[in-house]
């Protein structure tokens, strides 16, 4: 493991970073919280699968099917190690974070959440960790309780404690929250929260869509019960998500998607389901992309997640310091860089984020503008939208300088 990551060397592994845009500009990709770019190792792993051993897995006995099964299951083991889970059966492949959370809402929530129960979440949740619970709540007659978020994105454990107490013993069935806000960038120290929840026998789901890609993850250390994240936000292909569930819980969980592969015996009137994790992977999986995700994990391990985090902290500090110099800019989220992931949301007075993003595009700069799938938080912040620049391992200070130039250009156009 190298001491610090060599961003210029890393950049050479990403074909898209040498692409020229419409007018010959380089791509300055600062929308990594939406999805990251892919190194050639990942792209090649997918091509290699299709060119050399594409076959349906688990059941066939011929050579390429056995090769495919082996590579697919290897990725499961890689992920187990990456998040330090105890057992590889605790790793379920889904399409994305959203499906992972829906799986929990349908399969676990469906039989564990009853009328009059509560689910606690925060005001900064991404729609993917909010709407499924709203839908479940409506179906079951259960209520959602939102933990307040202050302007920097902090939530209070005292408030949590109070909500649980008021709700009454045994009524709160789940606490679900994002380990890192995709708008404010706030990293929540979940360990303490999980301890508090477990003391009251409440399981905790972590939406790790933003945290797992950017810092070391250890599910045994945090002791979370569920963890959801997406491959495409961590160098992996689109179409693969992960749901980690503690074995004790998973073994008792009903299936979600039913059909081929997740069964042991099917009769006209009843079905015996397969063992975990297969019970939760109905139908032909996204074999190629799971294998591609394995290559992404290898790539990240090679760099080291501590180095990823270190690079982002350094870059975020630079980004924050440069943004702060812009006149009439408002920056959201924590001030302390240790408390934030590698993303910064902001608004420049008089320039709507969409207009800002359109102007930035002229400079080849790709940022996100909008509500970032967090409308409840937007309402709380009393804004419709914000601009968001989000970083990853291949971003440089030079790119941040181009962003700043572009923002100043936008200010000139809008005469602010």
């Amino acid at each position: 493991m190298q001491a610090l990551l060599d961003v210029y060397k890393i950049r050479q592994d990403f074909p898209i970073l040498s692409r020229k845009l419409f007018d010959g500009k380089n791509l300055v990709y600062l929308d990594n919280a939406a999805t990251t770019q892919k190194p050639k190792e990942v792209i090649d792993a997918i091509s290699r699968y299709y060119s050399e051993y594409n076959a349906n897995i688990h059941r066939a006995v011929y050579q390429i099917a056995e090769e495919a099964t082996e590579e697919y299951e290897k990725t499961r083991e890689k992920i187990r190690k990456f998040i330090n889970a105890r057992h590889s059966e605790e790793i379920i492949f889904t399409r994305n974070t959203t499906e992972s959370i829906n799986l929990v809402a349908y399969a676990w929530g469906g039989s564990n959440v009853k009328k009059g129960n509560k689910i606690i979440l925060t005001e900064y949740e991404h729609h993917s960790n909010l709407v499924p619970w709203q839908v479940l709540g409506r179906t079951k007659g259960a209520k959602l309780n939102y933990l307040q978020v202050d302007n920097e994105g902090y939530i209070s454990l005292e408030e949590l404690d109070k909500i649980i107490s008021i709700t009454g013993e045994g009524k709160t069935k789940l606490i679900t929250l994002s380990e890192m806000s995709n708008v404010l960038g706030t990293i929540f120290p979940v360990k303490e929260l999980i301890k508090l929840a477990h003391d009251k026998k409440i399981p905790v789901l972590l939406d790790g869509a933003q945290s797992v890609p950017h810092m070391p993850t250890d599910v045994q250390d945090t002791d979370c019960d569920f963890l959801a994240f997406s491959a495409h936000k961590m160098l992996g292909p689109t179409g693969v998500g992960v749901l980690y569930v503690k074995k004790e819980i998973l073994e008792k969980m009903n299936p979600f998607i039913s059909g081929g592969d997740m069964i042991k015996e099917v009769h006209k009137e009843n079905t015996i389901f397969n063992e975990i994790p297969y019970k939760f992977e109905g139908g032909t999986p996204n074999i190629a992309d799971v294998i591609g995700f394995g290559a992404a994990i290898d790539y990240l391990n090679e760099i080291g997640m501590k180095n990823v985090r270190e690079h982002e902290v350094k870059m975020t500090e630079y980004l924050m310091s440069k943004l702060t110099e812009i006149k009439s800019i408002k920056i959201y989220g924590p001030k302390r860089s240790e408390d934030r992931g590698g993303l910064v949301s902001f608004n420049i007075e008089g320039i709507h984020p969409h207009d800002c993003a359109t102007i930035l595009n002229d400079f080849g700069v790709a940022i996100r503008s909008g509500h970032h799938c967090a409308q409840v938080l937007m309402e709380k912040l009393d804004i419709v939208a914000s601009s968001r620049a989000s970083l990853y391992i291949y971003n440089t200070k030079e790119e941040i300088d181009i962003l700043i130039d572009a923002l100043n250009h936008a200010r000139r156009i809008f005469k602010t």
């Binding site: 969409h354 102007i359 509500h371």
Partner: protein, 142 residues
């Protein structure tokens, strides 16, 4: 290039929107939002003998959606209600002078037209519920 988009006219309508606000007791009140970005437009209309006597819009959003709404109110004010039916995507884009917007921003430019068409449909269907089927696809703009 964005210099072509953010010309003086757009910025002027954005900063000084025409017909912005509400109508008291409107004949038509309708609103919609763009799920992609959260932009919101509401439109109030006063209709007399099928002619648009007064129109006001309200909303939050980007320069393109707000300027486009502002210009749209000017386009249809004092015109027969049926004008709305005939208005196309291209009419709007030409009127605001933005014929080469990308697909995401086009939706900003057309949000107000969509809202206006929705309002017209609602108006006719309220009057004559049996026309619902026929009017069904009239609010499509993109």
């Amino acid at each position: 290039m964005s210099e072509d988009i953010y010309r003086e006219m757009i910025l002027d309508h954005y900063r000084n929107p025409r017909n912005k606000g509400k109508i008291e007791e409107p004949d038509i009140r309708i609103n919609d939002s763009n799920p992609l970005c959260g932009d919101e437009i509401s439109i109030d209309l006063k209709v007399e003998n099928d002619v648009i006597k007064d129109i006001k819009f309200d909303g939050r959003g980007c320069a393109i959606s707000q300027a486009s709404a502002s210009m749209l109110t000017e386009m249809v004010s004092n015109k027969p209600l049926t004008t709305i039916k005939d208005l196309t995507k291209d009419d709007i884009l030409e009127n605001i002078g933005l014929t080469n917007l990308g697909p995401a921003r086009i939706k900003c430019a057309l949000l107000s037209l969509k809202v206006l068409k929705l309002g017209m449909v609602k108006y006719y269907v309220d009057k004559d519920p049996s026309s619902a089927d026929e009017m069904k696809d009239q609010s499509k703009v993109y």
